[in-house]
Amino acid sequence: MTLYETLSIIFMGLAFVSSVVSLIISIVSASKVRTINQRSKFYDDIFKERILIKLPNLYNEYVEKEINIPNLAVEREFEEFLANFRREIIALKFIDQKFYKKIDDYIISIEDTVVRISNHSNEFVELKQKLYNNITSMYKVINKYFR
């Protein structure tokens, strides 16, 4: 076998390996794009409006109004929002159990604090801070997941 033939075989082998690697990379990339698209759809359908508009507004309305007058109507609106939120994320249970559990736990913790605030105990300031911290922590988890 001449040097030319040997080099040809080596280059053909390298070309084959390179095409296989390219194919694997494109399959992995396509899979990643599908995952990103799926997550993006979940974000738009389930989270976007809830975390950008409804939750911050309910928090402001509830915490501000609850300082002076017990407002069962606002509290129920908050509770129902959280109950619906909990129902809406249930599909995630079958897609990403770990993420689902984290968000579900945050929702339950937020609702727990909302109910405690309504008792108008002398812990109001601490509970208000806890509510704020719970919401902030949930936002961080959601933002990290959909980044």
């Binding site: 069962l72 509290e75 129920r76 509770e79 109950a83 909990r86 339950i108 913790s109 609702e111 727990d112 604090t113 909302v114 109910v115 405690r116 309504s118 008792n119």
Partner: protein, 94 residues
């Protein structure tokens, strides 16, 4: 029907906390629960709100023995409002 009337702190209108729910179950329900019939669990009228966390703690042991689909065969809830009754039942079954 087996009627279990809960006795709670009257100064608290909102029940919250998984551990507190479990404690109420252990102290006031566990020994009285009839596993062969319907139990009417009565939340006092001064309770206006019940958090999901409380319900989860309260039902922890019950749901180890019966499935969520069988709840209506064993448990009925009475409370200060239809809204609250539905909320408690929905969250037991969730």
């Amino acid at each position: 029907m087996n009627r279990i009337e809960l006795k709670l702190n009257q100064s608290i209108s909102g029940l919250a906390g998984n551990d507190y729910g479990y404690e109420v179950y252990l102290n006031q329900v566990k020994e009285k629960f009839d596993w062969d019939g319907i139990n009417v669990i009565v939340f006092p009228n001064y309770v206006e709100r019940v958090a999901i966390s409380f319900i989860q703690g309260f039902c922890r042991e019950i749901l180890n023995k019966i499935s969520k689909s069988e709840i209506d065969k064993y448990i009925k809830i009475e409370s200060s409002s239809e809204y609250l009754t539905n909320k408690i039942l929905e969250n037991i079954k969730f």
